[in-house]
Each structure stands twice: as structure tokens, then as C-alpha cells.
Symmetry: C2
Subunit: 173 residues, 2 copies
């Protein structure tokens, strides 16, 4: 019985360590976005580049689109629909002039990323997200998911590009 008590203690201690580790590893184990239940995919910052863009208007950001292996493979093969398991990450930073660079160039011509604004994900699961073209949508700011109301605006905006499987971004060679 004493052996069992020690074993129980060990299990409790190990559970504590695992819970601590889950917290310590940060965003990847953070809150899931509502509606679509998407968490930040671990290691997405290491994914390969799909393309870049500059959005003016209210957002006024510089952005990079990264894709997991399934996304990159589909893009490079010119697939018209993305397979289940595809994840596309949209990173964005505020659009700011680079004083450092402009000083060297002698004129205001260089615009670079300021602070990160938010990161968005499109996750393909044709059954789970059948109501929204097979895609789940998520947005995180400093690891915190966006509210339901915002996420409900994603699909209506992507719907006009149905012919491109609801994906705006083309691959930049």
C-alpha cells in the first residue's frame, strides 16, 4: 500500500510537470479560437513562404503568408483545391517607414514591419468546416483569439474567391 502511495505521488508530481510544461511552451497550447476551435499551430513561424503583400486602408500592414507542407505542396503543384490538413498562416505587421534605411538611401523609400498586428490561420477540413467552404478561420493577437463576431466576417469576405478555393493569395515564385 505504501508502494501505491508513492506511485500515486509520482503520478501527481508528473502531471504537475506536464501541466507546467504545457503552459511554459506558450501560444501553441493557448486558447482555441471560438466557433472553429482552432489553436495556434505549433511552429508555424518556421513554415515556408507562400507570398507577401501590402494592405493599405484601415489595416495598413505588411504581411507574409506562410504555409504548412500540405499548403506549399498544393500551391507548387498548382492544385485548384487544397487538401484537408492544409493550413495557411497570415502574419502581419504595421507598415512603417525605416528611418535607418532611408538615411542610407537618401530618400524616404523603405517600408518595413513595425509591431505585429495579428496572425490569422485558414485550416482546411472539408467535413468539419463544410458550412464555410471547408475552411476554418482563426485570428490571434498576442496569443489571444479574436471574438466570435469578428470570425463570422471571415468567410463572407472569402466567398467571392470561391473559384480559387476561397484563398486570396497566389504563390509568389
Amino acid at each position: 500500500m505504501k508502494g501505491f502511495a508513492y506511485l500515486l505521488l509520482a503520478v501527481v508530481a508528473l502531471t504537475g510537470v506536464l501541466v507546467y510544461m504545457a503552459h511554459a511552451s506558450g501560444h501553441a497550447d493557448g486558447e482555441a479560437a471560438p466557433i472553429f476551435g482552432i489553436k495556434i499551430p505549433p511552429g508555424y513561424r518556421d513554415w515556408r513562404l507562400i507570398s507577401v503583400a501590402h494592405e493599405e486602408g484601415n489595416l495598413n500592414d505588411l504581411r507574409a503568408l506562410l504555409g504548412n507542407d500540405a499548403a506549399i505542396k498544393a500551391y507548387r503543384e498548382g492544385k485548384l483545391t487544397f487538401p484537408d490538413g492544409t493550413i495557411i498562416a497570415r502574419l502581419a505587421w504595421s507598415y512603417v517607414p525605416s528611418e535607418e534605411n532611408n538615411k542610407v538611401f537618401g530618400r524616404a523609400q523603405s517600408f518595413v514591419p513595425g509591431p505585429a498586428t495579428n496572425v490569422q490561420f485558414m485550416v482546411k477540413d472539408s467535413r468539419k468546416y463544410a458550412a464555410t467552404g471547408g475552411w476554418g478561420f482563426a485570428q490571434f493577437k498576442d496569443g489571444k483569439p479574436a471574438a466570435d463576431a469578428l470570425l463570422r466576417t471571415c468567410f463572407p469576405c472569402h466567398e467571392p474567391v470561391k473559384a480559387r478555393d476561397f484563398v486570396f493569395t497566389h504563390y509568389a515564385p
Copy 2:
């Protein structure tokens, strides 16, 4: 002697295969850039993202900076000098409005990559490139290296950012 003839034939055939393979694999085995003798590093399009930017002025491009493992490691560790073996790739595309996206957004706000302009590389080798801050510079357009005269303009432009090991680009988190 007959055995030797066969062996010779085999070597000649194998050489032919290797030469063919070198050609078939494309850019990576293409012409080296003059002065610094840099070839296009194989697989650079798969490297991880350092940052993005928009250069106005004569270039007017959208660009992505990618780094090999040594580059990414140094950036993430906040190293002030990059180790030998570091390669930073600068991809660039002409800066064009996206008619497709703007139609959806209802206003002209989206700028995306047009055709690729050229790709540049900075290669760190503190002994080989001692005269230019430890960096070799290369530029390729459609796989063809830029002329000596152009490459000689690289280092003078990077010299003002000596405090950042002659590298303009900061890491975008």
C-alpha cells in the same frame, strides 16, 4: 585490357549522366556571380522567413528576406554578428495592385507581388570576403548573375549599417 576499356566506358557514361544532372537541376548549378563567385544556393526558396518589406522609388518592389539555418539561428538569438556560413536571400517582385482582391474589398488597397525582379544573396565568409565586411554579394535575374559593375555597388551601400554587421533587415517576429 578489355576490362579497362569497359571501365573507361563506364566512367565516360557516368560523367555524361552527372553533367546532364547538373544541367537538369537548373539554377543551383548555373553560373556563379562574378567577383564573389557565389552561385544560387540550392533550396533557398524553402528557407525560413526573416522579414518582408516594400521599397518604393526606382525599384518599387515587394520583398521577402529568407535565411538559411545559420541566419535564422543568429537572428533569433539576437546575435550582433552573423557566423560564417550565414546566407541571407532577398527575393523581390514588382509591386502591383491586386485587381482581384480590390474588387472584393471595394477599394484599391491591396498590393501583391507581380513578376519576380531579381534575387540577391549575402554570404558570410569572414576570411574570403574580408575586404567587404566578411560578406559576399550576388544578384541573379532569371538565373543569370549580375555584372561586376553592379555587384561593386553592394558593399558601399551596406557599409553605413556596419553596427548591424552590414545587414539592413531586422527580424520580424
